[in-house]
Symmetry: C2
Subunit: 399 residues, 2 copies
């Protein structure tokens, strides 16, 4: 995939990535994104009770609603490293703040890689001068490269929209690819915009968008210690400050939702070992929570995931997962559709369309709809299949 660097520049931001040697063989593993002045900042973090050191630090710092730089290293998660890990993280942020001549609590950190190893502080500090001198307005794509671990392709997207008379741009980068589940497991995403946005409004918009994107995907049902989604709004577009009450709020909301969804789907498509993207839509549920619960229950069934991998039209496994999900549904009212074809209703299978279903199951993108017959709520999630490559990658990769 060739990346148009021009498309991914955001006025007021510069970025770069360098190789510190941690990921080896000259691979870029340290990324920096800098706003020309303190930007309005919002963040959503893992709910894992063993958060990595950078998550602990960011949560505290982002409470101010302001940040100017994000430093991300890949190859070491700095998780389960105790007080020492926190000291390491604070130290590199202090060193960077010194180089940039800003307060260190304007710096946010993110890490991804092996759990339980100390951060390579010396290598990171040594790389900082060259990282800072490499900063370029069209460097976001390069920064994306620096945050990849087992990702097979870059995840970068941009959207434009109008706020009143001002054209603004949003650009996002993300990494997957294992440990992807509800609460955004080993997932990093950073979104930058030149729009001027009020802090409380930015926070709310980010949370909404995460709920419909990163919190609506599942690769393997695991939640990481490092998940982070951060958004910075620099304000260089010169628009009238965007608030909840602004007439243009929905343009911006839709652009952000579309951007984040495209990054989330890219993460699923690049799920470890994935060969298919499966959209699971649960509808006619009594509540969104119920729909969400069943969608995840089906998506995380290894028997369902392997059936998609094998291209086996094994709707019995889906029905079995629906029935095991703990929702008190009436089995006679449940309907299952694959690729738009009804396969199960009134408690029994409909086998008329078997040939078409076999064809549909071979496709790289499959739509599954489960109607619970209980109400009007719905939830849609994206998931991937469970493959030999997933096992190979995870049996031998030391996370």
């Amino acid at each position: 995939m060739t990346v148009d660097r021009e498309e991914y520049s955001v006025p007021g931001f510069s970025a770069a990535a360098v190789a510190t040697g941690v990921k080896g063989a000259g691979k870029r593993d340290l990324s920096l994104i800098v706003a020309q002045a303190p930007a309005v900042a919002a963040g959503v973090f893992t709910t894992n009770l063993f958060p990595a050191a950078p998550v602990v630090i960011d949560r505290e710092r982002i409470a101010s609603g302001r940040a100017q730089a994000i430093l991300v290293n890949s190859g070491c998660a700095n998780a389960a490293t105790g007080d020492e890990g926190e000291h390491d993280a604070l130290r590199i942020s202090r060193t960077l703040a010194g180089h940039m001549n800003i307060e260190d609590n304007l710096i946010l950190l993110a890490s991804t890689g092996v759990i339980g190893h100390r951060l390579p502080v010396a290598s990171i500090e040594q790389a900082m001068p060259s990282l800072l001198s490499a900063l370029r307005v069209d460097g976001i794509a390069e920064a994306q490269e620096g945050i990849m671990t087992t990702d097979r392709f870059p995840k970068i997207a941009s959207r434009r929209c109008m706020i009143d008379e001002s054209s603004v741009v949003l650009c996002g980068i993300a990494k997957g690819a294992g440990m992807i589940e509800p609460h955004m497991a080993t997932m990093l995403a950073f979104v930058f915009t030149d729009a001027a946005v009020e802090a409380a409004c930015l926070d709310r918009l980010l949370r909404e968008a995460v709920g419909q994107s990163f919190n609506a995907v599942s690769v393997d049902g695991c939640m990481s210690t490092n998940d982070t989604a951060i958004m910075l709004a620099g304000g260089a577009a010169g628009n009238r400050l965007l608030k909840e009450s602004s007439p243009s709020i929905n343009h911006f909301r839709e652009a952000l939702a579309s951007l984040m969804e495209s990054l989330a789907v890219a993460i699923v498509r690049d799920g470890e070992g994935a060969t298919k993207v499966v959209t699971i839509r649960v509808e006619k549920a009594a509540s969104v929570e119920e729909a969400r619960h069943i969608a995840y229950f089906v998506a995380n069934s290894n028997l369902v995931k392997t059936a998609f991998y094998g291209g086996d039209p094994n709707w019995g496994r889906i029905i079995s997962a629906v029935g095991a999900g703990g929702v008190a549904l009436d089995p006679g009212r449940v309907e299952l559709f694959i690729g738009g074809h009804l396969l199960f209703s009134k408690g029994q299978g409909r086998t008329e369309r078997q040939d078409e279903i076999i064809e549909i199951m071979k496709r790289p993108e499959i739509d599954v709809t489960i109607a619970l017959g209980r109400g009007r709520s719905a939830f849609r999630l994206y998931t991937s299949d469970l493959t030999h490559d997933y096992v190979t990658l995870n049996a031998h990769y030391h996370t």
Copy 2:
């Protein structure tokens, strides 16, 4: 594994299995176990909301606390087959009752195999005369063979114990091997004893034993539509009727628990594609439910399961799963042991014993203990690893 047929005979019971052609190539796929007179019966069934036809029928019949025969077919689950499936099941039970000249509600049924296909009624009925004439007092091992699907080895065990002055025997057979999770997924188990046991007491003993055995294993976190555990007590041993208040009740309870646990561990060892049995013990929990929840959460993490397969001492994945389990624990009080060695405490990894841990992770049986630091409750479960063979078996086997 050679089976000593003598060891597995229970006075008052006979059994046999024949090939009906459903599983193909002359493989035994229809088993029958018969008591010489109506026996005291208890059963525990799947909680899946799409129970197979035989489960629906058995639940109703076993309410009487009596049964005389169990007919089990493998190759077709008779699940998601609607009213027709129930008619099919009732029809074969009626035919068998006619041959045996007993009431048809003394017959229990169980099925395992592909979901959504109609039962091969004609083949089953045709096989009945030869099945009945093959009944032998030492036929239980043969019946075990007839209930296997993807099982790689037979699961049969027996125990003896004293009730007052009478020696009694308990013999059990079971099948796995995929869809094994909490509530006994695609798991069939049948236990026979010559002890005389009061019906309410038998029911309670069976439920207790299932809770500590079949409901304490997980292969892939999936629950089937057909799970069934049935116990028949014939009474040929002539002991004084066993009740809750009997002085010997604990001998019998322990023998049953030990029998069922050995069958459950055999199911995990034979989990689809499994190369390892991992015992996960969660202790110092605030409640048994909490301990159980975390144990399953860790056991069902694909990242944990693949790490065991790869022999990777990746304790970070275990800690990450514990932290994602939704229990409000204090991360600083959590301790993790593998093979008795402390690997994580006070929020950080202990890497002193890395070499020993690498050795332990290579073993076919691994003990993991997670202390939550919250109370005095504990739960122990057995699980298996996630391997290439699991994916191969399930991507291409049409359940």
